[in-house]
Amino acid sequence: MPLEPLTELLLAVFDSPFREGYVPSIIYVSLYVSLTAVTLSTLFSVPVAVVLGFNDFFGKRFVKSVINTGMGFPSVVVGLVVLFAVSNQGPLGSLELVFTREAMIISQFVLATPPITAISLAAITGVDENVRGAAHVLGGTRLDVALVVLKEARYGIATAILAGFGRAISEVGSVLIVGGNITGSDGISKTRTLTTAIQLEARQGRYETAMVLGAILVVLVLAVNAVVVRFGDRGVQR
């Protein structure tokens, strides 16, 4: 697998607390998949938002409506399409990604990209026209102006990344289809995430475990929210 050495490295760094036990391994898989997907998606989405925000071209409205549609795209359908793509007969079949974390990263990337792009674009276009103008007349090149706009939009972009992370980590449909909700024979999660584990535990009647996992998921999402809100407050109040 292309990302396996990285996984090994991370496991070596965190070592035992994540390796031992069913629940920690699920948390680890969830965070690993969602954080990787959101990071990759951010690296893709923000430059795209900058290009869309700075240029007028034929078909821009169409591109924007595709992105907006993507925000509401059902995750199970994304999972299905990604499954076809990585299956033996699919275009990515030779990579043998079915029921792997990498396949889950691909589908979460597809799911996180529209909200991150759309919200970043809104933040970028919301930057005061005069501030762009000021950067330009003070001698800024196109790149300088773009950097100023990114800096002005930083809280909006942080919100976009958070929204993408929220969609990725709490999403169940696509990771279930492409990941398969698998644990090893030792009971350690391979592709089982918090969401798919909750779904399984609840179906099997182990409500206590499901509730613990649910609480962990909520705390995770709230914690990330709190960090970004705090960060945003610093921007507003100073």
Binding site: G133, V137, L138, G140, R238
Partner: protein, 254 residues
């Protein structure tokens, strides 16, 4: 030094002004007077080389800016400073704002090193930054965030920001129209200071008293052309053009 010759501009197929000429030399203040919406901002942005004219030429020391390569035009553009009617400051400290013009003129490796250094040791204000904040009387606000400033202070920071990199030409677009008398006086003193440094200043204003106070020469922009240009006193006391006379006396209502 900086000269627009027979320039025309239009906005969405509508002509803003046509075949208009104006020049600015080192160490003089030229006021562009005219009613709101007549195209003073467009004229200033044309002089700032930030808006390409539909016709005519903008020359800087004889070089026709829009026939040059982009890199050469950038170096001309970087000899001009501009202040907008609204302060338009960046979401950062006063010092970071004033420093901006200096920062982007450095090489990328220097900018990177500077960025790393300031993360480790934040204070260490550039001498040019301190000096231009001194011109607008705001050295005590250096390390404050711009959100804590009053409207007048913000506009003074905006002025200092354009002055910090020592431009040859300073373009001011209605710099005091939103300000109280005290802040207006500070800006007008700063204009005089800039002229004494040998900077050519263009002030767009609808305030004729301000034009009389600060400008050596005045240009009256009415309709789509400059109806009259000359020494400020002469324009106000003996306007040769009938429309200029009516505008100055207040008979011409837009």
């Amino acid at each position: 030094m900086l000269r627009a010759t027979d320039v025309s501009q239009s906005y969405r197929d509508e002509s803003v002004f046509r075949e208009l000429s104006i020049g600015i030399d080192a160490g003089e203040v030229v006021a562009v007077i005219g009613p709101s919406g007549v195209g003073k901002t467009t004229l200033l942005r044309t002089l700032a080389l930030s808006l390409e004219p539909d016709g005519g030429a903008v020359t800087f020391d004889g070089a026709d800016a829009w026939t040059l390569e982009e890199a050469e035009r950038l170096s001309l553009r970087r000899r001009v400073g501009m202040v907008f009617q609204e302060a338009s400051l960046f979401d950062a400290s006063v010092a970071r704002n004033v420093e901006y013009g200096l920062r982007i003129r450095r090489s990328w490796s220097e900018r990177l090193r500077e960025g790393l250094r300031s993360t480790v040791r934040p204070d260490g204000t550039n001498e040019a930054v301190r000096e231009s904040l001194d011109v607008v009387g705001l050295t005590d606000k250096t390390n404050q965030h711009v959100a804590s400033l009053s409207g007048g202070e913000a506009q003074r920071v905006s002025f200092a920001r354009a002055l910090a990199y020592d431009p040859d030409v300073l373009l001011l677009d209605e710099p005091t129209s939103d300000l109280d008398p005290r802040n207006t006086a500070v800006i007008e003193e700063a204009i005089a200071e800039a002229r004494d440094r040998g900077i050519g200043v263009v002030v767009a204003t609808h305030d004729m008293h301000q034009a009389e106070r600060v400008a050596d020469r005045a240009a009256v922009l009415l309709g789509d052309s400059i109806t009259e240009i000359g020494p400020t006193e002469e324009i106000f006391e003996h306007p040769s053009n009938e429309r200029t006379r009516k505008f100055i006396s207040g008979e011409l209502v837009y």
